[in-house]
């Protein structure tokens, strides 16, 4: 019996292995379906009228979001091909920061088209090559219809940021958040080095309480912790700031050590020694004229001992401790200072001055604000507020997207219309081009063109409009030459979308199209899944 059973098992395993290596068509089919399922899952969150997803993680934590990348990150997808789409969305998030839902929806539509082509007996490689060519055409066309902008055209930038914000939970605050995002990015742009503008120069601090409208841009530095002093100053004008990386507490040696006391007089000496040691440091700080001290977080020993705080209180020096190691760079950049690693270097020339250092109460918490640093670097801080944790987290994500949009515009100064206008334009132009060609390429190009219509289609569907009616009308308007006609979701009609101020950066759409195409190509090229997991 047992032998038979095991043989039976063996057969089954063999069968599975065989099935596992079954016809490449099957594998491709399964991959495409999995990827399409991912796409379907997030389709409803596309566009200004898109809905949100509520995700309850294993540990009970709840996320409410509209951001494609976040949704996909939370759903731990099993299928390897589906995982590729998750990666795709993440790649778009890193590269452009916005359009993470769009890119997945486009990829899903392209896969759908590819599946139909495959079923007509076209070889996957041919489809893949042809899609690649179509994508590069698409990019050319997009660049052709883009409008260049200037960085000093603030209004235009604000429009793009609001377009991105309009699809989020915080959309009603887009009028207040968009200018903040624009100002923040423009402030950190270094003239001549626009390509390397980094969002790490914009520090976003989340603080519960208040509403999203209370979000503010602070031209300076904010520490989310309170002043460490017990009864020291809470507000210092004309501050001299020192940023130290050493500790003001009794020293420890690397090895185990013992101080041996054999006399009662020695006890006094031990106590006194500790006092004088700390006093020395504090006196040096005072001599340098420092009145605000930032102390890096220390793991091995107290960054600043109680006794040291007592002395620092006495010399009226404000202390902010536990500055995170990863924040050091940002702090240095914003204050224009260098961290001081040893007491010997703690001299007046290593300090920086700032107009005002103040502890302020925000919501129930207190935080320290440093403003008016003398030779401040190009950094800003955004203080995001929200009435509950979920809104706050989503406001943070939305603001990040808006910042990314502006960053895209700084890198590549061109905008295109939103509201499905560029996609429909692409579809028309690519289809027209397909008509001039012959052979497999023509069929593939046409399929590619049709697939792009998914974006206006979904936008209309999510906005509660009749999708077929809307898309056909849109196509009609574009055929008449109105390249900027798009879906006006607010009014539920087709209109010139540029007049409605719905614009998006060129870079977002370009990278969405090229990323989606590349992912589709790599999924098409897979003809086998070999499972090496045991």
């Amino acid at each position: 019996m047992t032998i038979q059973a095991s043989m039976g098992d063996g057969n089954k395993v063999k069968g599975l292995v065989y099935k596992d290596k079954s016809k490449p068509t099957d594998v491709r089919h399964s991959n495409i379906n999995a990827a399409k399922a991912v796409c379907d899952a997030i389709r409803t969150s596309l566009g200004p009228r898109g809905m949100d997803k509520m995700i309850q993680a294993g540990n009970g934590e709840v996320t409410i979001t509209n951001d494609g990348a976040t949704i996909l990150k939370q759903m731990n997808v099993v299928h390897p091909a589906a995982k590729m789409l998750v990666e795709l969305s993440r790649a778009q998030d890193v590269e452009a920061g916005d359009g993470t839902t769009t890119v997945v929806v486009v990829a899903g539509a392209l896969l759908d088209a590819a599946e139909k082509l495959l079923s007509r007996g076209i070889h996957p490689t041919a489809v893949s090559e042809s899609f690649q060519r179509a994508a590069s055409h698409a990019v050319e066309i997009l660049t052709g219809i883009a409008t260049p902008i200037q960085l000093d055209n603030r209004e235009q930038l604000v429009k793009s940021a609001s377009t991105s914000l309009n699809s989020k939970v915080v959309s009603q605050h887009s009028s207040s958040l968009a200018p903040l995002a624009v100002d923040a990015v423009l402030k950190v742009v270094e003239p001549g080095r626009e390509q390397v503008v980094s969002l790490s120069d914009i520090k976003v601090i989340k603080q519960l309480g208040g509403t999203v409208e209370d979000t503010e841009l602070i031209d300076g530095l904010v520490f989310p912790q309170r002043v460490a002093n017990v009864n020291g100053p809470k507000r210092i004008e004309k501050a001299k700031i020192g940023f130290i990386q050493f500790c003001i507490s009794p020293p420890k040696t690397d090895m185990d050590h013992n101080v041996v006391v054999s006399d009662y007089a020695a006890m006094d000496r031990v106590l006194k020694e500790e006092r004088t040691y700390i006093l020395n440091i504090v006196k040096q700080i005072k001599k340098a004229g420092c009145n605000v001290l930032l102390i890096q977080k220390s793991i091995l020993r107290d960054a600043v001992s109680d006794l040291a705080l007592h002395f620092l209180d006495k010399i009226k020096c404000m202390v902010i401790k536990d500055v995170e190691r990863e924040d050091v760079e940002f702090v240095c950049k914003s204050l224009g200072c260098r961290p001081i690693a040893s007491l010997d270097h703690f001299t007046a020339e290593n300090l920086v001055t700032a107009e005002l250092v103040e502890e302020v109460g925000v919501g129930g918490n207190r935080m320290v604000k440093i403003t008016g640093a003398q030779n401040a670097g190009k950094t800003v801080t955004l203080l995001v507020r929200g009435s509950n944790k979920l809104v706050l987290a989503e406001a943070d994500r939305s603001l990040h997207d808006a910042l990314c949009v502006i960053r895209c515009l700084v890198r590549k100064r061109a905008v295109i219309a939103g509201g499905g206008a560029p996609e429909i334009e692409l579809a028309l132009k690519l289809a027209a081009r397909a008509d001039t060609m012959e052979g497999i390429d023509a069929i593939c190009l046409r399929a590619y063109a049709n697939a792009l219509e998914i974006i206006p289609f979904t936008l209309a569907e999510n906005a509660g409009l009749n999708p077929i009616q809307t898309v056909t009308e849109l196509r009609n308007r574009h055929a008449k030459g109105e390249t900027s006609a798009g879906i006006n979701v607010r009014k539920g009609t087709i209109s010139d979308i540029l007049e409605e101020n719905v614009v998006q950066p060129l870079l977002v759409t370009v990278s969405a199209i090229s990323f989606a195409t590349e992912t589709v190509r790599s999924i098409l090229k897979i003809d086998d899944i070999v499972n090496t997991m045991t």
Partner: protein, 557 residues
């Protein structure tokens, strides 16, 4: 079909579309139902028993919801909402939850009538904005009319729904006095009322009426030794944030002796270090020493000898406030800038009297008449601990309400008056719009009526009749300019009639009303926007591998 579901079969369940919204609305409604019956002056209390058998009896929405273990994520949003209202405003926690749930319920109805949620959301936003504007412009009672009686009325209104409502006169006066005593000016000369500075102590025994306000600071500590004096007039106070104990050597310091005589010397020295400190303190004329750490019994004798009072294990937060009130320095160490230890008279705080009094079974130390700043403490008495706890929460709510009024200097009429006025205004406003938002705004207006309705139902009055009367008055006030005074009309729940609530002194802080509207709308919108819910199972050991998924045939149909 299984293809669509399976590759995404994340370890958990996923529901999308209309069922999610209905489910969320249901969850929200059930939360609101729990707190509904506790709204208003005649609202009833809840008794909550937790898993270790601790009992809480309360009427406070935020407290009820905090103690509930809510699983549903949408319901959690409402619980957080109540908590937020509690932190930001301190009062009106029940009403904010009820409004949010009602908004959701009506929105769900609209969705069922095939109105897209996004239209409802924009309608709600518009309505909320209009409502807040209308309150600001028309319904507030301005600063000039703000008298002490008015502030007392605000406190009374807040208390009326609570356990201490019966003794509202006594407590309202107490709360207002306490709030005034802790008034401070911030850097730009605006008065601030840090509510936390009012020390509320509870002692059970005696009746609630014997609760008292102390112009000073009450400490839940006793003197360290029975031999110390229990009462000191013209006290000179030192606040120390360290222990007066035998000096211990730091870690890593070893005492190594080879002569037994030296052992004694070291012991003596350990004591002497502290003794010297105490003597320095006493030499400055100090006769009350408050210490956040401990005081060794050996050290007590120095205090007893000089007739000084020593109190140990004073809470740090208390100590800081006492230091501020008496003008004493809050000392973490005696060391001066030369590395020597000293204590001079500038670090001493003063108070008219420090006395230890027996209240019920406990002894309390009262610091009366602090020199630098006035302080206030409230000692609550009640028949049992639950009663005292609930009194504390009620007093806290009232303090918050008073603080809001004193800081923002404007009030609105209570008793459902504002809600009724808003509902009439918004209904008229809705009809001026020709877009889809009209319906949503009308529903928003309808939702607000839930407050007067619930108030009336809780008071066992005829809700339909009362609300209709109320609306009629409000409508007249908005249509006829000469009868505009009718806008203060609200419900009188004890008599079951409508009356002018401004005259009757039923007043609430404006901030509380506006914030609760804003928060409720924001929470309702957050929940409305959700159309998909993914619940992941608690993480198990290792994810389901691809192979397992395949073997179970999930990848093929």
């Amino acid at each position: 079909m299984s293809i669509f579901a399976s590759p995404l079969s994340v370890a958990g369940t996923r529901t999308s579309g209309a069922p999610v919204r209905t489910q969320n609305v249901m969850a929200a409604a059930s939360i609101a139902n729990i707190v509904k019956s506790s709204l208003g002056p005649v609202g009833l209390d809840k008794m909550l028993v937790d898993d270790i058998g601790d009992v809480t009896v309360t009427n406070d929405g935020a407290t009820i919801l905090r103690l509930l273990e809510v699983e549903h994520p949408a319901a959690k949003v409402l619980v957080e909402l109540a908590q937020l209202q509690d932190e930001e405003v301190g009062d009106g926690t029940t009403s904010v939850v009820i409004i949010a749930a009602e908004l959701l319920k009506n929105a769900d109805e609209l969705v069922k009538q095939k109105i897209h949620p996004t239209s409802i959301i924009s309608g709600y936003r518009l309505a909320c904005k209009e409502a807040c504007r209308y309150i600001q412009d028309n319904l507030t009672i301005p600063v000039e009319e703000l008298t002490k009686a008015c502030v007392v009325n605000v406190a009374k209104t807040s208390m009326s729904s609570k356990i201490i409502g019966a003794d509202a006169d006594l407590f309202a006066a107490m709360v207002v006095d306490a709030a005034n005593a802790i008034k401070v000016l911030d850097s730009s000369k605006n008065p601030l009322y840090p509510i936390k500075a009012v020390n509320i102590l509870k002692a059970h025994g005696r009746s609630a009426r014997e609760s008292m306000l102390i112009q000073g600071y009450a400490l839940n500590c006793t003197v360290a030794s029975q031999a110390m004096p229990k009462k000191i007039v013209h006290a000179k106070i030192a606040c120390l944030d360290f222990s007066l104990q035998k000096a211990k050597m730091k870690m890593g310091v070893q005492v190594l002796i080879n002569d037994p005589e030296k052992l004694e010397a070291i012991r003596a020295r350990e004591l002497d270090i502290t003794k010297e400190r105490i003597q320095k303190i006493l030499a400055a004329g100090v006769n009350v020493v408050l210490v956040s750490g401990g005081i060794d019994d050996l050290c007590l004798k120095y205090f007893v000898e000089s007739g000084a009072m020593g109190v140990r294990r004073v809470k740090k937060a208390d100590l800081k406030r006492i230091a501020k009130a008496t003008g004493a320095a809050f000392l973490t160490s005696l060391t001066n800038m030369d590395g020597e230890e000293c204590f001079d008279s500038s670090m001493v705080g003063e108070a008219a009297e420090v006395v230890q009094e027996r209240i019920s079974d406990d002894e309390l130390i009262l610091i009366k008449g602090p020199k630098a700043r006035t302080a206030a403490s409230i000692i609550l008495r009640g028949p049992n601990d639950f009663y005292c706890d609930e009194m504390e929460r009620s007093v806290h709510d009232a303090l918050c309400a008073v603080k809001r009024v004193l800081e923002s200097k404007s009030v609105v009429a209570g008793g459902g008056s504002v809600e009724a006025a808003l509902s009439i205004y918004l209904e008229n406003f809705a009809t001026t719009l020709s877009s889809r938002e009209q319906l949503a705004i009308a529903e928003f207006a309808k939702s607000l009526l839930v407050i007067p309705k619930t108030l009336a139902v809780n008071a066992a009055q005829d809700a339909t009749d009362l609300v209709a009367k109320l609306r009629a008055y409000q409508n007249t006030s908005q249509t006829k300019a000469d009868l505009a005074n009718l806008k203060w009309v609200g419900l009188d729940l004890l008599e079951g009639v409508v009356r002018d609530n401004k005259k009757a002194g039923v007043l609430e802080p404006t901030v509380s009303k506006i914030k609760s509207l804003k928060f409720a709308t924001e929470a309702a919108i957050t929940i409305l926007r959700i159309d998909d819910m993914i619940k992941l199972d608690p993480e198990q050991r290792g994810d389901k591998s691809y192979k397992q998924a395949m073997e179970s045939g999930e990848l093929y149909d």
